[in-house]
């Protein structure tokens, strides 16, 4: 067991040395979480937009359901995906269990509801402003959704960021469906959990530092884009 000071020193050295194992874990984390975020946006944004502009029976119940799904426990999602992808499960023939694809699927299920629910709120506010104008122009539902998604693009960046943050930081789902296999499915969060349990705090801390730097970097980039957009009154 190392002291925190020793571990921090080793962690900094590990990061600065560009350790190939560390790099592999970081890149896999980014590949899995970015893929999941993009796919979840492709699903969640249109769903959020359709619910935002739709007025139908049961809408309030759907909103409650969507909001509740934001709090899905990652381990439960992991378990459900595991049951479907395991050899005896309905999708077992695909052979996806313990692969990065399985991890992406689990993260998509986890964050698509977050993106749908948050984007619904953003797009509904915008639609309140545009509704009469769009009805006057006789826009179709598809044209309305396209216009809302485009005009809310900078606000939706923040929604996407919330989804990415949830994906890259979660450990419960990916450890169940990915198995934390070295050089195959080991990502930052699962590696941190493993190395901590082994008492190897240097690697765990190094990964934690990188995770924080990524979170800060992505947030700073999105904030910068939003500020530029706000100056042009595009937000």
């Amino acid at each position: 067991m190392q002291s925190i000071g020793d571990a921090l020193g080793l962690a900094v050295a590990l990061v600065l040395s560009g350790d190939p194992d560390l790099l592999e874990i970081v890149l896999l984390s980014l590949r899995v979480s970015l893929s999941a975020t993009v796919i979840a946006c492709l699903i969640g944004l249109p769903v959020g937009a359709l619910v935002a502009i739709g007025r139908f029976r049961g809408r309030n119940a759907l909103l409650v359901f969507m909001n509740a799904l934001m709090g899905l426990p990652p381990v439960v999602v992991g378990l459900l995906v595991y049951l479907h992808l395991s050899r005896s499960g309905p999708l077992g023939f695909l052979g996806l269990l313990y692969t990065p694809t399985a991890m992406i699927i689990a993260q998509v299920i986890l964050i698509a509801p977050i993106i749908a629910a948050l984007s619904r709120q953003v797009l509904e506010d915008l639609h309140t402003e545009y509704a009469d104008q769009f009805r006057s122009l006789c826009l179709s539902r598809v044209q309305t959704v396209q216009a809302l998604l485009w005009d809310a693009r900078y606000s939706l960046l923040t929604v996407g960021l919330a989804g990415f943050g949830r994906a890259v930081a979660e450990v419960g789902a990916v450890i169940i469906v990915g198995g934390n296999i070295d050089h195959l499915t080991r990502v930052m969060t699962t590696a941190i959990a493993l190395e901590t349990s082994k008492g190897e705090l240097a690697l765990a801390l190094a990964l934690g530092m990188i995770l924080l730097i990524i979170a800060l970097g992505v947030n700073a980039a999105v904030q910068s884009v939003r500020m530029t957009a706000a100056r042009q009154a595009y937000v």
Partner: protein, 251 residues
Amino acid sequence: MSDAAAMPFAQSVRSAVPSVLMPLRVRDLVLRFGEITVLDHLSLDLGPRGCTMIMGPNGAGKSLLLKLLHGLMQPTAGQIDWGGQGPTDVTARQALVFQKPVLLRRSVRANIEFVLKARCKRPGESAEFLEHVGLSHKADQPARLLSGGEAQRLSLARALATDPEVLFLDEPTASLDPASVLAIERIVSDARNRGVRIIFVTHDVGQARRMADDVVFMHRGKAAEHSRADDFFPDPQSSAARDFLNGRIVV
């Protein structure tokens, strides 16, 4: 009035023929929100040409009447007949300019192109509309950074880009400076000369005198008076209209 033949975008807008949507017949129109009656058995006939100014105090139901005529709202009771068709059947052949311009979070040019694409027209036509309203030099600027008068001119250009047979204007010059008001009035007058039927809500008596062919004066949810502008301004028939024109407070 400007000369229609001299305008550069003549091929993009209506020629000077009256709309087949006219005449407009409104019978016993009622609009209620719970216990509140906004429009109370309003009846109205509008002819095929010109500019109708709708005047009246706040709360008279002018803006809601425009929305009903344009098919954006459903009345509680009554009939609206646009040359044999209902309001929702003809919404696409009309345009509405709102008091507060609703501009997309895009460039000035993209605001026009959005409408042209929605109507399956060439986006390249946007330049002609921007030139017509004097905004060519701001084409690439963010639309929401325009001044109030420029924003309303863009809103008007976007409405004209739909090639409407009927153009509704809901107090488009409220809180604009005199130069901006004049610019808007010139564009609207030009559209009228090209055959677009204008239905214009205003509180501005001076503007109504400059623009109106006929005037509908609304009071307490009814059309208290509808007459030719030449008759209305010198000799209003209703006491509410007389008080309004004389600057007295009408409630």
